[in-house]
């Protein structure tokens, strides 16, 4: 397991096991996610990578049959401790989903929603500034500056996904989790999102689940390979691309999986 990481550890999972009812989904996964890096999680469908991602902001709490063992720390604080404020965790660890899911409200309100909810006092010019900056940060401003009052659902798929990122940036999270953010998008939109993630890395820690191996190697600093609920291998992307330690990883990466 990787233990020599340059800089600070942002998220850390130790011996994480999870079940949906009686079906195991994760088996003793331990991983360290360094701050200000992009971690790509790859693996075949149903291997547990999305489950793992959703453990990081306790999104799995919504599923009643979900059970978890082990520990996840955010800045060295256990996020599954009984006295944890889930809402606060999710404020720090935001999530972007596979299907772009802007709310059925205007582009402006989509971005303003979280800000208003977190701080009722923010309004007028101040709120406007946050919205504009978030849209600029998400590389969306130029495309939507004339469409702020329009419904967020009227944008294209790629724009919707960047809108979802913008609305997340507006509430200033520390970690951004992305669950196959580009699987519903065309290559051009995908490219825009990848560029965006590389920029955001400077100020955020990013964990992205992807089925697109090319994407994983293009943007990730570290890559984790999941198989059957286990984290088979985790390491710097450059190392994994050239010389994976495990044979299954090599097989998967080279497309000889089966």
């Amino acid at each position: 397991m990787l233990n020599t990481v340059n800089g600070k550890t942002k998220l850390h999972a130790r011996e994480l096991s999870a079940w949906y009812g009686r079906t195991p989904a994760l088996k003793k996964v331990s991983v360290t996610i360094p701050a200000n890096s992009i971690v790509g999680l790859i693996g075949p469908s149903g291997c547990g990578k999305s489950t793992f991602l959703r453990c990081l902001n306790r999104m799995n709490d919504l599923i009643r049959s979900f059970k978890l063992e082990g520990k996840i720390t955010l800045d060295e604080k256990d996020i599954y401790a009984p006295d944890t404020d889930i809402v606060l965790i999710r404020r720090k660890v935001g999530m972007v989903f596979q299907q772009p899911n802007p709310f059925p409200m205007s582009v402006f309100d989509n971005v303003a929603f979280g800000v208003r909810e977190h701080n009722r006092g923010v309004n007028g010019k101040k709120l406007e500034n946050i919205v504009v900056n978030s849209l600029k940060q998400a590389n969306l401003w130029d495309e939507v500056k004339d469409k702020l009052p329009q419904s967020g659902l009227s944008l294209s798929g790629g724009q919707q996904q960047r809108l979802c990122i913008a609305r997340l940036l507006a509430v200033k999270p520390e970690v951004i989790l992305l669950d196959e953010p580009c699987s519903a998008l065309d290559p051009l939109s995908t490219g825009k999102i990848e560029e965006l993630l590389l920029e955001l890395k400077k100020s955020y820690t990013i964990v992205v689940v992807t089925h697109n191996l090319g994407q994983a190697f293009r943007i990730s600093d570290y890559i984790g390979f999941f198989l059957l609920g286990q984290l088979v291998e985790f390491g710097p992307a450059a190392e994994l691309a050239v010389k994976p330690k495990e044979k299954v990883t090599a097989d998967y990466i080279s497309g000889h999986f089966g």
């Binding site: 809402v87 999710r90 709310f103 979802c164 509430v171």
Partner: protein, 343 residues
């Protein structure tokens, strides 16, 4: 041995005659044709039936509506009118009827019941869909279903045996009763009893529809909001309820339809007096008896033999029909505007 064997038949002919598929297909298509046309016929028949109901009610109601014009809507005195018409001789029938008390009674009870049902039902629906622990869901849900299956006369009975005496004992004071003696007898049968009983009756249907509306709000909206660090409760208020608005309004409209048409239970608990409760009386307003359009049709049914009375009751029915049609159009209009504005 079969004697046919000896008859020389060409192979192709045999195929044509005994090919079972040919029979099957033709029989099938005849069946389908019949079913299709049969269903079409039933559809036409039921639409025609509804059409005739409208025509019939309008025709029967027409004499009274013509004789009174708009005064039917804005004048009172129904009970006296009805009595006069009933005892009038066939040679000099009395055509004057004023249904304002009945119309106002219907509006008061329905609005009151809605004010009581919508918040209660919405809370119940939110609990069922968002909060209820799984082991508790089935019992609650089946109770709600059961409530909607209870005949209205049972609600009326419970209202009459429990609600009405309670109001009489705890809310009606002697002083009140004396003060109101000239207007109406205060004995517990009242607008309030009507509102409570009617409200309980329409809660289940509203809960069922509101819960369905909440359930179909896309899960991704909820997740998106939670992932922004918005609390569950705020997510319900800001994302789930707006998303379910259309279905909730449709549920309220359907519940209104049921409330307007309810006759038996209301005739049992609301006093059966064509009185117009006066908001000017203060809170006594809620304790005054009244009668709705639908209850009137039941309560005054004994007058059916007299042509004038019969027509007057059909006029009440016509009002009920028209209000149901209006509600139905309103529901469609809501659905349409929501679609345009919502997404």
């Amino acid at each position: 041995m079969n004697h046919l064997d000896s008859v020389p038949v060409k192979e192709e002919e045999v195929k044509v005659i005994v090919n079972p598929k040919v029979f099957l297909v033709s029989r099938q298509s005849v069946k389908e044709f019949l079913i299709e046309k049969g269903l079409f016929l039933f559809t036409i028949l039921s639409s025609i039936l509804i059409f005739f109901v409208f025509i019939f009610v309008a025709k029967e109601a027409w004499p009274v509506l013509k004789a009174n014009g708009l005064a039917f809507v804005y004048t009172g005195g129904w009970d006296q009118d009805f009595y006069r018409a009933w005892v009038a001789t066939a040679k000099e029938p009395s055509w004057r009827f004023g249904a304002l008390p009945l119309i106002s009674g219907t509006i008061f009870t329905t609005l009151g019941a809605l004010c009581f049902t919508v918040p209660l039902g919405l809370g119940c629906a939110i609990f069922l869909v968002e909060v209820c622990p799984p082991w508790f869901f089935k019992p609650v849900e089946s109770t709600v279903r059961l409530l909607s299956a209870i005949p209205s006369v049972i609600y009326g009975l419970v209202g009459l045996l429990v609600v009405v005496p309670w109001i009489d004992r705890h809310l009606v004071t002697n002083e009140m009763a004396l003060r109101m003696a000239k207007v109406a007898a205060l004995d517990g049968t009242s607008l309030l009893a009507g509102i409570l009983v009617l409200g309980m009756m329409i809660v289940p249907i509203f809960v069922a529809l509101a819960a369905d509306a909440l359930r179909v709000v896309p899960k991704v909206y909820k997740e998106g909001s939670l992932a922004l660090g918005v609390s569950h409760w705020r997510t319900i208020i800001k994302i789930m309820l707006p998303g379910a608005k259309k279905g909730i309004i449709a549920g309220a409209i359907l519940a209104t339809g049921r409330a307007i048409g309810e006759a038996i239970a209301l005739s049992m608990v609301s006093g059966s007096v064509a009185n117009i409760p006066n908001p000017g009386h203060g809170l006594v307003f809620f304790l005054e008896p009244l009668r709705t359009l639908a209850s009137t049709v039941v309560d005054n049914a004994e007058g059916m033999g007299v042509p004038t009375c019969e027509s007057a009751l059909f006029a009440c029915g016509a009002f009920l029909l028209v209000s149901c049609v209006i509600l139905s159009f309103f529901a469609r209009w809501v659905a349409r505007t929501q679609k345009q504005g919502g997404s």
